[in-house]
Structure formats: structure tokens, C-alpha cells
Amino acid sequence: MDLFLDILRGLAAVILAYSFVFISALVNIVFERRTLAFMQDRLGPNRTGPQGILQSVADSFKMLGKEDFAPAAVDKRLFTLAPIMVMIGAVAVQLVIPYTKGWTSQDLNVGIIYIVAVTSFTVLAILIGGWASHNKYSLVGALRSAAQMVSYEVPMILALLVVAMAAGSLSLNDVVSFQSGYQWFVFYMPLTFFIFWIASIAELNRGPFDLPESESELVAGYGTEYSGMRFGMFFLNEYAGLTIMSMVTVTLFFGGWEGPGQDLLVVYGVSVIPFVWFMLKTYALVFALVWVRLSVPRLQVDQLMAFAWKFLIPLALVNILASAAIILWAPQWKWVMAGFSWVLFLAVVVLFDPLQRRMLRRRRAKSPMLTRG
């Protein structure tokens, strides 16, 4: 009987996790389209339902109604496997996320490592899908994706290690409780947050790191041969990834569900208000992701790699070494850490763009000027 209950509970959790992925994807698609439209001085989808909020529901019905089509040349088994696999990361990450006070599905003591492990499934699915499609655009897109993920997972993990060192635990619940009292990590290690956030944008394959599917070069990258709901799975995963990755970021750096009025409304031992705070913070970050996508042009492959290996990883290494030393030796280490991190963070943010532009201007001044004919 107990086993039966366990299976039932597990099934319910899986269904919940999947519905969360689907719903957040549907919400994010409309959210992004409307936000982009607002920033691009146009209307965006505003016909289906009030303010167009049902647009992506209609779109998903359209995709469900399409023929389940696979081109003749594809490797059928892998071609089918990839869209199924692609969701694993987004669903499995939810296992360890503390949604609210008293609600974590499973408080793993290796939560942070678990997150890194399961999110890597996405790139595997993309690689399989791109290879199985038997299409050159797909293959180039998939290989780009693999190269990008491998490069950006390094700074991401280096940033996560700083969090783990500071909290003294790999469990996400411990990380959240360590930040209680509004001592959020983002306040005294902004540099770590910055590195993690950039790497997470690259993990999400979003602009400016959307090379795997850069539509002006590779049409749709790894998804070129996919149509109907198979394409829909890739698409939903990409947009659900916005929420999932933002939830991870909030948990690690923004104090998780922490906010005023924690115990006002408690249902069956689960506080509701912190969940609202959690989602609010998450969507603030989702908005930031949309904003970034619109504001920065797509990088080129070599520039992308150079940014990861020549800039982000050295910065992350300096960060982790200094942070480790500070945590180990400094008394009142939070203040020292805040000083170190803010100084370096501001230096990077303020100086990076002007320096880059100055370098480019110099290169331009040096590059041979064409003589007037």
C-alpha cells in the first residue's frame, strides 16, 4: 500500500512538474512577444483573448493538430528521441528547487551539482536532434550548441562553487536559509552572480548567444527539420528554460522565496506568500533576459568562444580564488567579500564596453585606410 502511495505521489509530482514547464513556457512566449513588441514600437499578438494572452495556447493547439512528420532521410529513432529528451533538464531541475517555505520536492544534499548535471541533458538532446535530422543547417547548429555549452558550463560551475563555499553546503535549502534576513548573495557577491547569469544565458541558447539557431544564418539551426509538436517540444523547452533558469538564479542569489509576510497564509504547511515573492523575482529576471536579448547583437562563433575562454573563465578563476581566500581567512568575511566583489563587478561593467570600443577604434585607425582614387 505504501509503495502504491509512493508511486501515486511520484506520478503526481511528475505531472505537476511537466505542467509547470508547459504553463511557464506558454506564459513566457506571450510575455516575450509582447515585451519585444513594446520595445520594437509595434503591437505584438493582441487578438487571441484579452491582450493576446491566449495566443500561445492557440499556437500549441495548432502545433498539436499538425501532421507528425519526419523527413525521409532522418534517423527515425534518434529523431523521435531528441524532442522527448529535451524536456528532461527543465523537468528534473524542479526536483530540488525550494518553491516556498516548506515545499521542496527533494532536498538533495548535492542539489547544486544535480542542477548542473541535469541541465546538460538539453545539449545532448539538441546534439542528437541536429545529427539525426540529416541536414547541414541542423548539424552546424547542433555542433555550435555543443561547443557553446561546453565552454560556458565552466564559468557557470566556477561561479556555483563560490556559492557553495559561502553557504557551506550544496543543498539549495541550505543556500536559501543561509541568505535569510535579506543577506542575499547578489548583494555581496555581484560578480559571481554576473558570471553565473551570463553563462546561464549561454546555456539557454538565447540572444546574444543564440548561435545554435541564429535565424539569419542557419534558418532554425538544430530545429530546421522539425515540425508540428516535435518542434513544439524544443520550442517549449527553450521558453520554459527562461523560467527554470531564472528560478535557479533566484534561489542561489536572490534569497529564494524570501520576502515580507512569510507566514500570513499557510495551507497544509505550505506558505503561499513566499511563493508569490519567488515568482515575482523569477519574472523580474525573465524580463531582464528578454531585455538583454533585444539589446545586444548576436556574437560570432569565434567571438563567443573568445569571450568565454579569454574573459569569462579567467575572471571566474580570479573570483573563485579570491573568494575562497576571503571565506577561509578573513574575519567578517561578508564585508570583505562585498568590497572585493563590488569593486571588480563595477570595474568590469563600467570598463568593459568602453575598453572594447577603444580597442576596436584603435584597430580601425591602424587598419589600412584605402587611398582616395
Binding site: V140, P208, S214, S216, E217, R298, L360, M369
Partner: protein
Amino acid sequence: MDELFAPTVPDEAMALALDRVRRGAETGDVSELDGLALDQVILNMGPQHPATHGVLRLVVTLDGEVVRDVIPVVGYLHRCKEKLAEKRTYYQYIPIVDRTEYMAGMNCEWTYVLAVEELAGIEVPRRAEFIRVIMAELNRIASHHVAVGTFTADLSPLGTAMAFYTFRDREKILDLLEEAAGARMMFNYFRFGGVRFDLPPGWEQRCRELMAEVPKWTDEYRALVEDNAVFLSRTIDKGVISQQDVVDYAITGPNARASGVPHDLRRTRPYSVYPELDFELCLADHGDVFDRYKVRVDEMLQSARIVQQCLDMMPRGPVQEGSLRAPYVITPPPGSAYIAQENPRGEYGIYIVSDGSRYPYRLKYRDPCFINLQLLPKLMRGNKIADAVAIGGSIDLVLGGIDR
């Protein structure tokens, strides 16, 4: 060559690309392909591809991310424009000229009308000359809007935003053109010996107000992309056209001026009232992708200046020579004429031969895009595929003109 990536249905261009790869592999002669490796993938870009701005097809040989060879295939938009001329009266052909380089209909029409006027010896009233210049320059701004917008859209979603801003401003110009000509893109506005309608009441004032806005537009575009380090690093020193290339390949228009070649038919072989107008040639020094973008934005400002001057200098009077309003048939004496004008994309020429009948005996286009296209393989070779897309966008091709 991996069998998996051999083209399944080799057509002529694919076969040519494959042949070049094989030849390079066998003979070791890689001069044609700029250092050929064995693991090459032949990628077919287009005719349906988001980065080709129409139905241009590029058969690209890739070595990893690097473009080794490009074979452009044209003709997917071929509509027999030149042959059609032989079965249309001179009047009937005017709307068809609009559809060659459809982004700059006014400029195309003007070239055709001017060629026929030269053949038949028709005089144009002074007011009509000014209206023609105004229309052509307005259309030049609108055309550069599309060029800059789609080029930046090739780079990123940021560019997509830029494209929306440029298209928003282009709409305002198209509204003006619609008011005057009755259509937004396919104008059918020019007539032999003048233009079809006089300007509607209040139009000049609205045009003046709009032209005063142009500096604001260009400032906005510049603020959006030119301060952006990523945009700069994607465009600077990419796809450089040397001045020798400009001469060898007969490149004209903003692409030539971006390389510092001061070739602008409005200045070097002036026609209409351009000698009376004060405007600068927009030149740049490096001839790279960034310069081609910059020259186009600069030219919008100069065009706005020209329009403002024309509005000031325009006299009152008829807009078409009265005797030409009817009948709608003209029969130029036997002979031929070649007229070239500064189109937004370069030297747009029409060669026309008359045998004295109601129809042209022969009509031939010299389209700037078709000529500029020939440099594309040379520019793209050795660049990353993302750069190749940016270079293609910066050359600004209009397939209606290329395929005719």
C-alpha cells in the same frame, strides 16, 4: 567528401561547387578556393532563406564555420522585363519599370522616362524637374531605410528592433509618396515630359516637416547600434572592398563610396537640376561592412538636404508639357539612347533602341545590384558564415533588379 553530406540532387550550381572541391582535392590547386581542405560541406542557402532578402540562392562551400567558396545562382525572380518592353507601347511600359528594382521605383521610372525623352527630344518643365528630384530623393531615403534595417536584422534581434524603427520612418515617407502618386511602391508617376500629377495642396509643408525630422531619425539609428561594441566588432574590417575591386568589378553606389571612390552620377555626370543643388558626397575610408552602413545613413541626411533645397527653389507652373497629355502614344524617331542615373544602389542604366514604331525595339537594363553581386563570392570567401551573411546584407541586393 563524406557521402552523407554529398548533395543528393546535384543541380548545375551544386555540381559546380562539388567539382571545384574535387578538383582542388585532386590537383592540389587551391588558388581558386583560397586554401582548400578535404572536409568541406556544400551548403545550399536559398532561394528560401531568411538572410538572402528575396530569392537569391547561394551555394556555399563550408570548411567548418569558414566560407571557402560561394556560387550565386540568380534567375528565380525572372519576369522577362526586357522582352515585355518590345510588346508594350512606351507609355504602357512605365509601371513595369517600377517593378525591376522595386525598392526605388521612382528612381527607376525616372531613368526610363529620361531615356525615352532623350530619344524623342522631349523638354521637361522646370517645376516637373524639381518634383522628379524630390520624389527620387524621398525614395532614396526610403530605400536606404530598408537597406540599413534589413542589414542590421541579419546581425541580431537588436537589428530587428532597428528594422522596425527604420520601417516606421519609411512609412512616413511612403505616406508622402502615396499622397502625391497614389501608390506606395509601384508608383507609375513619371510621364514623358513631366510627372502625372502636380503636388496636392499642403504636401510641400508636410514634406518640409518630415525632412526636418530626418536628422532625429539618423541620430536614433546611430545611438542604437554604433555605440554597441558587439555591433562594431561584427562589422569593422569585415568584407573590405578595395578601390581596385571597385574599378575591376564596376561597383557603384554607396558600396563604391564606402571605399572612398567619389563616384556619384549626380555629381560626376550631372543630370536634371542636380548642378544647382548643394549636397555632399558621403565617402568613407575603409570600405568595410561598417562603412557601407555608415555611408547609407549619411546619405539619408544628404537626400533630406536636397529635398529641402528643391522645395525652396521649386517654381510654379505646369508639371507636364501640355501636348503630351494625350494621345497616349509616342513614336520616337529611330535611334538609341543610354541613360544612367544614381539609383540608391548605384548606377542604374537603361539602353533603349527605337525603330520608329510605337514599341521600343530593344530595351536593356544595367542594374547596379547585378553588377555588385559579382563581387559577393570574393568578399565572402575566407570569412565566417555569420560574417558572410552580414556582408551579403551590407551589399544590399534587390532581386527584382538582378533577375528583372
